[in-house]
Amino acid sequence: MSAIRFVTSEGLPTFLARLSRNSRVLAPVVKDSPKPSVMFEPWRESMPVILKKATVPPKDAVLPQCESLFVYKKSKNADNPENVALHLDDTAHATPTVIFACRPCDARGFAVLDHPFLDGQFVDPYYKARRERLAVITITCSSGCNTCFCHWVGGGPTSPEGSDVLMTEIDDGFVLQSITDVGQKLLDATDLSDGKDAFPKVEAARKAAWTSLVPAPDIKKAPQNIAALFNRESFWQKHASSCLSCGACTYFCPSCYCFNITDEGDGFDKNGGRRLRSWDNCMSSLFTREASGHNPRTMKAIRMRNRISHKFSAYPRNWGNFSCSGCGRCIGNCPVCLDIRDIVQDAVAVADSDV
């Protein structure tokens, strides 16, 4: 039985203040700039409550743009300077965090990341530490938008996957429904009033959201069809011709998780050296450049193939679902309006017409 609570719009700051007592609460904030953007930032009292979809997904909460995996310190033995002692500190640090006003697509992003980081042969301790201390409160969308396509890829404006609490706006406030035990505990710890009576309104609002969507094409065959096009360079060239090979599509993606590892510092000074893990992206030529200098993916078309195949073919074959949650950021943020929906649809159609 899930907990169902109700909060008025005016009650939200109190609710957030309550959550901030035990956790860092990340909430959307509108940044002041000629081109406004919405970012998740630690909530502080007196900040306005923003419910807009963020420009940057809250992926950073589990996979930071750059993190220190471990710190190493080297010290020389005074009697025998050749003898260097190495001290490693690889404690995984994680702050208990609540994400407030996540969107269903971004929450599904966490579900996508969980498979490779937690369910494979090796568990990533850094990711795990943060994920276990994370609670996600997601606001369901009341409509789609021009670039998003969550319902093409198995999600939807009210999809619960990856969320601990689903929050839906009704006429006089918000109903919060727990999805997981974490969500239930989170709601039980608050003094929000019961919301069961309002639940029919929630169901109506969610239904309305679904009916507002433009019907989705059938892309079930994408995994096989994209794999079938693997060697058709002309296909990928056609779709990558305008690509600038920047990282806007991947760094703003809630489900991209490739990273790079670099060391900074030789370890002899007092701060020690750091092994850093930072985001990397397959659209950059350097992504695959090997130590020998050889690069198997110098052509951007082949890099595009990698991005599309990973999300719509390789990942589904490994884990069962697309690793794209349809948030549409890669489309909306692309400086040249490249549309992943077109590529996937075209791949489905082209490979079909081949048979």
């Binding site: 940044k31 002041d32 700039s33 000629p34 081109k35 406004p36 953007s37 970012m39 979809k53 420009t55 940057v56 930071p64 743009q65 750059c66 409509s143 789609g144 938008c145 021009n146 670039t147 507002s212 969507l213 433009v214 011709s241 305008s242 600038l244 090979s245 920047c246 990282g247 806007a248 991947t250 760094y251 703003f252 790079n260 670099t262 900074e264 850093l276 930072s278 985001w279 992206n281 950059s284 030529s285 350097l286 110098t298 950021r329 489309i331 943020n333 400086p335 040249v336 309006c337 490249l338 549309d339 929906r341 077109d342």
Partner: protein
Amino acid sequence: MPVMEGKELRIVGFLCNWCSYGSADTAGVARAWQPTDLRIIRVPCSGRVDPLFIVKSLLNGADGVLVAGCHPRDCHYSAGNFYARRRLEVLKRFLPVLGINDARFEYTWISASEGQRWQQMVTSFTNRIHALGPAPRFENATPLPKVVGMALPPSSRPLGTGKNAPLDDLKQGIKEKLPDLECVIGWQRGYDGVHTAPLFMKIPEDVEKLVWGPFNVANPAVYLPKFKGKKVGIVVKGCDSRSVVELLQEHLVAREDVTIFALPCQGTLDMSRVKEKLGRYTVVDNVVCDETEVIITVDGKKHRLPMNDFAQVKCRLCTKPMAVFADTPLGESPEVEIATHVPPELALLDAMNLDERMAYWSGQITRCLRCYACRNACPMCVCRDYCVSDSRDPRWMTQEADVTQKLFFQAIHALHLAGRCTGCGECQRACPVGIPILALRQQIARTVEELFDDYRAGFDPAAVPPLLSYEVEEKSIREREWK
């Protein structure tokens, strides 16, 4: 060696091997007293000093940086210091826009025999830095919470939607030339009616997809260099044509390889303002252009967007709405009132003091995800896959996501574009989180105009970019008085 807390400051000196390092040596041999704050790095020539050495030092904790080379005309390599003089002067005028006091950086000329002069200079520079105290750091700055709104500058001419432009004639012209060309680059409808995407026309049917109008924001010149050696056509707005000219100036494309098609431009839309106006929408029902406004209906709701309110700022300030030159120009260039307005992004910074600028940048740049869309959308950033920001050897940057690294990348981009940037604004437009990075390029462009006879990049294919040349006697660069 740790700096003696409280007593010494961190001053980095880049001294050329042949003269200035010798002068420090001469002073040493003469046992002249010298301050000990300076950490000297010996370089073969002042021309070897990349302005980024200085920025990197200042961003990473140096309190002052001194560059010294041979006197003009005395360069061991004949002209290294002439090039250095131009670059370092541009840098000196660039630092304040970041919020760094330019008094923390000085460059000068000293010969090997001038031990005494060296002693005076290093003493006076060190005293100056001590008077300024330890340099404020970006990572300690409290981000500026509120940025004042930017006033739109008056428009240089009436803006419009370009609906009467002779698009059909243009298509005809392209079709005629198409058989001789690999492709012609232009624009087509994008994922919905209010977005366009690049178009590569190869066959006559492709030409039918060509669109012209206020949604053609992207600069097609960004694709030109990769066609180097092939015959290619390009459709340009006025601003795009300046990028093409700059590419010609730098021999990154050859004149005989490009065919330029042009129509007079009446302005393009600031898509971020359009987005704000339309709000979250699902479907574009209709887009109609009349002479001066665009009427967009989304989800059944009609929005009127007068070009005069929704055009990009660069279009309001545009002095070249028609291509600099074209092989197939169609239509007349409109009358343009050439008034020099400081672009609003830059005016905003001009009105701040150094501390405020530092606070402004530290607040804005923290959003950067290092996606490098700004770099890759820049038609003049031609290294791309080999950009120094990605290189581990030499290692200019780390992967750390802190303010200094992010800002340092912007300094790299801006300084690599010094005297080359045409102000097309693509870097800022491409930034998904709206960091107003164009101001950094604008400050350099303004400096280049001041120093080099009103030089503006991308107007004359025969002109040598100012930082790739020098004058023995510089008209506008004076050596500073030392005290």
